[in-house]
């Protein structure tokens, strides 16, 4: 297995843009935790000069309607992601272990709810 690729997106050149490259605010991935005790969930990304501004921007872009009570931000480039080409070898080991699911076991109806 190759080492994890950096970032969640493919790094490809822009197909149509020939604009001169200039310093762009880095991209941040935004995670929001809602009010009902669920984990933080990835909601999208945005640009910001630093983490502090990323949180403020995330407040404006992703929580305009009380969607969250906690915000995590992480620079996109800092995320290591599994490669889609390795889907097979990565997840296959779990495929033949059906006994990991409760439905594998036949429990007689007489036993009641379990």
């Amino acid at each position: 297995m190759s080492s994890p690729a950096p970032g969640p997106y493919a790094k490809t050149a822009a197909p149509e843009g020939d604009a001169p490259k200039r310093a762009e605010w880095p991209l941040w991935e935004i995670f929001i935790r809602g009010q009902h005790g669920l984990s933080h969930r990835h909601v999208g990304s945005l640009h910001a000069p630093d983490a502090e501004k990323a949180i403020l921007n995330a407040r404006d872009v992703y929580t305009r309607r009380n969607e969250g009570v906690s915000i995590w931000v992480v620079e996109s480039a800092a995320i290591a992601a599994s490669s889609p080409d390795e889907k097979g070898p990565l997840y296959e080991p779990a495929n033949d272990k059906v006994y990991r699911h409760p439905t594998f076991f036949d429990i007689p109806d007489d036993v009641g709810a379990m």
Partner: protein, 325 residues
């Protein structure tokens, strides 16, 4: 519909990979950023999502025009929230486009240089307060027609952006209809303003769906890739069928003498907009094309010192933190 006349890219990929890709789409799988995709799929999506994003951003301008002139503080707050949503929608869409390997700044440059388009509808002026009603009711109504099915589009990040957008669009359309109800039930002068707004926005709204695409090869490819979910004519028909009874409810007249219910097809027969006007607006000759682009370029240029300053400040703080460690 915020994306019009999207040219789909021919693709020169390995036929076997293409077939496997098409099979995934046909099976309803979502395509995700780092997965293999045909070059044409990627380029067409960048063009479509980019145009959609630009439309949201430019779409703030006709309404921004009325924020300081809203008739009440409540209306002003509502309009401000709607325009803020549009900025948000633009941002969701730019992020979706960025997962395809183009940066937001590159997309901005292409908008500002005129290489990429935004929807023709935003090249029409908003002359009265009733236009705020007509824009929400008709323009956002037409956009919803297209955006609801796009929640099922094959590209994961685009579909997810659409889910968020659709949740918020419904507020936009309702606030527009609410303004129209108020005006249509107001003084005779207010009702005339509402009718005038409908008269001016009806055909440009029908143009939002783009010309008939029944013979378009681009549409066929985009539909096979599930980038486009319905034909332009299907969506336009649906929009008319939904909107005409709403106009009747308001006591307003759709400016089309040929409009008639066709029981056989279960929909209205209606007049096509002036497609020459549409092409002319796309070419840059609409009433507001120059103003809109000028406003975007000015905002971009005059914001440069803020972007650069904040970046410099962030770097300075980072350096100070490193030195302290």
């Amino acid at each position: 519909m915020y994306a019009q006349m999207i040219r789909s890219e021919a693709t020169q990929d390995d036929p076997e990979r293409l077939a496997a890709f098409q099979a995934r789409i046909d099976a309803g799988e979502k395509i995700e950023p780092k997965e293999w995709m045909p070059e044409g799929y990627r380029k067409t999506l960048i063009r479509q999502i980019g145009q959609h994003a630009h439309s949201e951003i430019v779409g703030q301008l006709p309404e921004g025009n009325w924020i300081t002139r809203a008739p009440t503080l409540e209306r002003k707050a509502i309009l401000l929230a709607k325009v803020q949503d549009e900025a948000g929608h633009g941002l969701y869409l730019y992020c979706a486009a960025e997962t395809l390997g183009v940066s937001r700044d590159e997309l901005f440059e292409m908008l500002n240089s005129g290489k990429m388009k935004y929807s023709s509808i935003f090249n029409y002026p908003t002359l009265t307060w009733a236009d705020m009603g007509a824009v929400g009711w008709l323009v956002d109504g037409a956009a919803i027609m297209n955006q609801v099915p796009l929640q099922r589009t094959s590209y994961g990040p685009y579909a997810r952006a659409m889910v968020r957008i659709c949740k918020e669009e419904s507020f936009h359309q309702r606030q527009g209809f609410d303004i129209m109800m108020k005006m249509a039930n107001g003084t005779p002068a207010q009702k005339r303003m509402a009718q005038d707004a409908l008269d001016r926005f009806w055909y440009p709204s029908l143009m939002m769906f783009g010309p008939s695409d029944k013979d378009s090869v681009h549409s066929a490819q985009s539909m096979a890739w599930k980038i486009k979910m319905n034909t332009n004519d299907e969506l336009r028909q649906k929009f008319v069928d939904q909107t005409v009874p709403q106009a009747e409810y308001l006591g307003l007249t759709v400016p089309d003498d040929t409009l008639a219910w066709n029981a056989e097809k279960g929909g209205y027969d209606f007049a096509q907009p002036d497609w020459d006007e549409f092409y002319d607006v796309l070419k840059g000759n609409g009433p507001c094309n120059a103003d809109r682009l000028e406003a975007r370029r000015t905002a971009w240029d005059e914001g440069a010192w803020v972007r650069e300053g904040m970046l410099a400040h962030a770097e300075k703080k980072r350096a100070a933190r490193m030195a302290a460690e």
